[in-house]
Symmetry: C2
Amino acid sequence: MRFKVNFPVEIFFGEGEADHIGEIAKKYGKTAFAVIDPFLKGSAVEERVERKLTEAGVEAVPFYEVVPNPTVELIDKGAEMVRNGNYDMVIAIGGGSSIDTGKAIALLATNEGSCWEYTERLGANVVRPKVKGLPLISVPTTAGTGSEATPYAVINNPAIHQKCTIVSPMVFPVASIVDPELMMTMPPALTALTGVDAFSHAFESYINVNAHPFSEMVALESIKRFAGNIVEAVKNGSDIKARREMALACTFGGMAIAHAGTTVPHALGQPLSGLTNAPHGGTIAACLPEVVEWTLPVAAEKFAVVAEILDPSLKTESVNQKASRLPLILENLFKEIGADVTFGGYGLKEDEIEGFADTVYTSFQLDLKGHPKVATREDIIYLIRQCM
Amino acid sequence: MRFKVNFPVEIFFGEGEADHIGEIAKKYGKTAFAVIDPFLKGSAVEERVERKLTEAGVEAVPFYEVVPNPTVELIDKGAEMVRNGNYDMVIAIGGGSSIDTGKAIALLATNEGSCWEYTERLGANVVRPKVKGLPLISVPTTAGTGSEATPYAVINNPAIHQKCTIVSPMVFPVASIVDPELMMTMPPALTALTGVDAFSHAFESYINVNAHPFSEMVALESIKRFAGNIVEAVKNGSDIKARREMALACTFGGMAIAHAGTTVPHALGQPLSGLTNAPHGGTIAACLPEVVEWTLPVAAEKFAVVAEILDPSLKTESVNQKASRLPLILENLFKEIGADVTFGGYGLKEDEIEGFADTVYTSFQLDLKGHPKVATREDIIYLIRQCM
């Protein structure tokens, strides 16, 4: 056994932590390029954060050009603004898209070229960052991507219908403020899809061939908190305990993939968003039960552990029985929270399947190699069809 | 709930990891001040580490002046040598004493004065480090202190019979190489006492009033690994699995106290070492069951969790029943591994008890405040007498 723990992010967790953004930010300088989810424009959250920054002597210049599945064009535009300005740090406030946009801009502030050149693509000439980016402070307002705790920035290239990822320890935020109060206003559908994403991080890192004692520990902690709270968070968004637990599930899920990575569901989900602009969590919900079914019995022991956390009544069953129940448990849960979606429903067309499978192959080798069962191109096509 | 995760240490874990010390060290420069346990002088471990460093172009200048319960004098001497030399980093190889010596020297390399001025002492004018120290790489050869994963350096001041601690995020190593193979040669008695220390870190941080989801998670993970492997590690030191699990228990225990701190057992144990030079793990073993007994029933729920991990046969008992069994479980376990020791046995004299209690009060307020039950000076005296 050989593994590495590397987690250079200061996490400030708790209700009201957003009020401390001024103290945290001023350690890094006086001017911030603030990547803000346009949905927050003029909101109480934005006003509060801005006030706290101002009180601490930090000037924040807002940048609202964030879209779901953030694009090369907008990121490169933001990076150019930072390069031409005089900024000490980047602050990203919003969901995963805002944080990934902020991460890529912070990296490009000190590294030349376009963000796309830095994304992982098999056979392509991937540029590695030469120097650290500007310090990035992330403030998530959803409980899903775990981006506040990862060295990843996912980027969409609409011109070629691809969605790829920058993978580098230099992408970690220096600090993340995880304040469950900021997540209270998420509507049920968003809570459900982002929640599934958080779960998938913990789950995929747990079953990953690169899993190790540290990543497994945080993954299981995340799954336990997800299991006990996702339904309540969706059905009763004002339940602060459920929001807090889902926020923890999300951050721990991020820590887990930061150490062991994702697997086949992300290899399928990310390019689907590139192709159809489907929401990331939805693409995962659409394929997770099918991927588990296909993977059985290769990962039966770990599937059994997860199945029992999600349904403690399985306790006395055998490992294989527990594991074989997991696809149905997930399907039922996703139905209960309104996340019963399909690739076809997101607009994937029959004649796009082959090209989609090729993208999975060229751009998501890291995920495929992490999966406990080897996926051939035919397997990928089979799985995509199952998810239609 | 409000907490912070801050763990800026890269942990390289695994059998054979020590062979990678060259690659790891060369990121920090070309010359290292190497604080080495004198016990390792001329050993295969030392030869191997030196060769790997040389191959990577890193020159290591050895410093063997490490003693158990490292002293102000030797640390200040080492710091002076580093200040007068031209070093890029400090490397510490050995048990907790070597690592704490290395930590303090690395900090003092760039901060003026004596190490003692930086230790926590109530009412004293504690100097806070102004700048980061030299990068410190730690290579533990015991599984106990968890010093490879903490922001603490414990220092003994024999002139005044006190043992106090530097507490600062600047004390964290930049990297720690945790190689269970280096721990294979620990004799049973050392394995037992260092193992108790590792357990006490997990346990004290778990019951600490400052505990939070992250610290509790790593603490329980540590306790599980300790419970399943301490006896085997003591009785069969060549069992690599037991050594690996104890190394994990130790590092996770360090991560736990790095986030939530220690409590009354450390408040009693550390000054006892200052007074009598007793081994640190022994001072903890001597008081842990008594402290648990005295703390009941204030922390019954958490004691019950720990009791059940140590003795799964308690599963069906009530919380209070489980908790009340914990002192005896610990006593029996310590007896089984040969760690049934007492304060009296370590040379504490009746007429020293009052002065001892005063030291606990002046220098270990952080630990006392972390304990789930408030300890008055009378309580401390009572506890010391119980441990005689």
